[in-house]
């Protein structure tokens, strides 16, 4: 068995990452999980969070939201709704999104759907800012 992982991250519009890596930490919907070579076949849903992968001593991160992750034969495939590298994130936009979501949450809308939506938007904005923050 190979001692490295092949990582592929794809979104509906493009293939974001194809790399040979040593370790991946993925924000699963049930919590973050790490994958090292030799991992058992695993299939899960992906939540909103920061995905980090390590190549040697080099760590790289992406903001991801929604989708699936599959681990099989040392191949990790992440199908995310969105996946952005720190340099691709529009910080001003994320900041605005966060403020908007916070306002909505403070306004305590009656609709439960709106509340859930605002909460999700807030999570996405915060993760984007967090991910972008590492380079800035």
């Amino acid at each position: 068995m190979a001692d490295r992982l092949t990582l592929e991250i794809a979104t509906p519009t493009r293939l974001v990452v194809t790399e040979s890596v040593d370790e991946v930490v993925i924000p699963g919907s049930q919590g973050y999980f790490g994958v090292l070579p030799g991992h058992a076949p695993f299939l899960t849903t992906v939540g909103v969070g920061e995905l980090v992968y390590r190549v040697g001593r080099d760590e790289r991160n992406l903001a991801v939201s929604g989708g699936f992750a599959e681990v099989r034969n040392d191949k990790v495939i992440v199908l995310a709704d969105t996946a952005e590298r720190p340099e691709e994130i529009d910080r001003a936009r994320a900041e605005r999104a966060r403020e908007r979501a916070e306002r909505r949450l403070a306004g305590r809308t009656d609709e439960e759907v709106d509340y859930a939506r605002a909460l999700a938007a807030l999570a996405r904005a915060v993760v984007r800012l967090m991910t972008a923050g590492r380079v800035g």
């Binding site: 509906p12 293939l15 849903t45 199908l79």
Partner: protein, 293 residues
């Protein structure tokens, strides 16, 4: 017989048409390249998604009722989604799809058919014929994004789950190659079950988190959105391919016409010169005779 000036005017007119068709061809070629790149970029996601789907359906399907989006209801109410371009001048691109859709309508129970049209050409066609259009989407092709597809797909799924329709079909131009687009029909909902490929993928014994059914709940809507997105992108690339081919042919036809007209022009000019010469010679001859006598 057309005068020299008339012929010249026609040549100029054909030349300016040719300029336009040539420019349209170049624009279509550039846009086609971008559209093709987008299809290629979207392929890994869609391919893997299909694989996971087969896998999960067999893992989750063994226990309990099938997922509502997979359930075959055998009801009569069909929704037909027709995808055309907003603009014409693309050969038979739009009419092929519209014809294909009409065939499908005739095969169905007409009273139970609802239409959703994408692209101005399809909308205008059905509107002229006074058909009821449930929903339309136009004027977005230049900025086609995944969000267009997901919004449409969510609408179809909502209707399907609410029991308003029993089947949803897409009719669109599939992009085979630059010169070839083929109108195809695809069943979007209920999600058709594939027979091959499913069995061998299921042999992998996964750990599921939370469980196969929950993952399937997340996956199916995304699968439907991806299908719609792919159909839209195929149609867009096909449109540019069709327009490029059509405009190439038009440019060539213009050239042929200019050649014919130029020959006509030269002939007419030649005739005119000959006639003038004859007149001069005749006149000179007459003068000579006059002075001699």
């Amino acid at each position: 017989m057309a005068t020299l000036r008339d012929i010249q005017r026609r040549i100029r007119s054909v030349q300016s048409t040719q300029k336009i068709t040539r420019a349209m061809k170049l624009v279509a070629a550039a846009k086609l390249r971008r559209a093709q790149e987008r299809i290629l970029a979207a392929r890994p996601y869609a391919g893997k998604m299909g694989e996971l789907l087969g896998n999960l359906v067999s893992a989750a399907g063994s226990d309990g009722a099938p997922h509502p989006l997979l359930e075959q209801r055998q009801g009569p109410r069909r929704q037909i989604v027709i995808i055309t371009a907003d603009k014409g001048l693309a050969g038979a691109f739009n009419s092929n799809v519209i014809r294909r859709a009409l065939e499908l309508v005739r095969q169905s129970n007409v009273a139970e058919v609802t239409l959703v049209v994408v692209g101005r050409k399809a909308r205008d066609f059905y509107r002229r014929r006074q058909w009821t259009i449930k929903r339309d989407l136009i004027g977005f092709w230049d900025r086609l994004a995944y969000s267009h597809a997901s919004e449409l797909a969510d609408y179809f799924m909502q209707q399907y789950l609410d029991g308003e329709v029993d089947e949803v079909h897409l009719v669109y131009n599939e992009f085979r190659s630059v010169a070839v687009q083929r109108p195809v029909r695809e069943q979007l909902l209920p999600i058709p079950r594939k027979t091959e490929g499913e069995a061998d993928a299921a042999s992998v014994d996964y750990l599921y988190e939370p469980d196969p059914r929950a993952i399937l709940d997340e996956l199916l809507p995304r699968h439907v959105r991806t299908q719609v997105f792919r159909a839209l992108m195929e149609s867009l690339a096909g449109e540019y391919g069709a327009r490029m081919t059509a405009m190439e042919a038009a440019t060539k036809n213009a050239k042929d016409m200019i050649d014919v007209l130029t020959i006509q022009f030269n002939k007419a000019r030649q005739e005119k010169i000959t006639k003038e010469l004859l007149d001069i010679v005749g006149g000179a001859e007459a003068l000579k005779q006059g002075s001699e006598s």
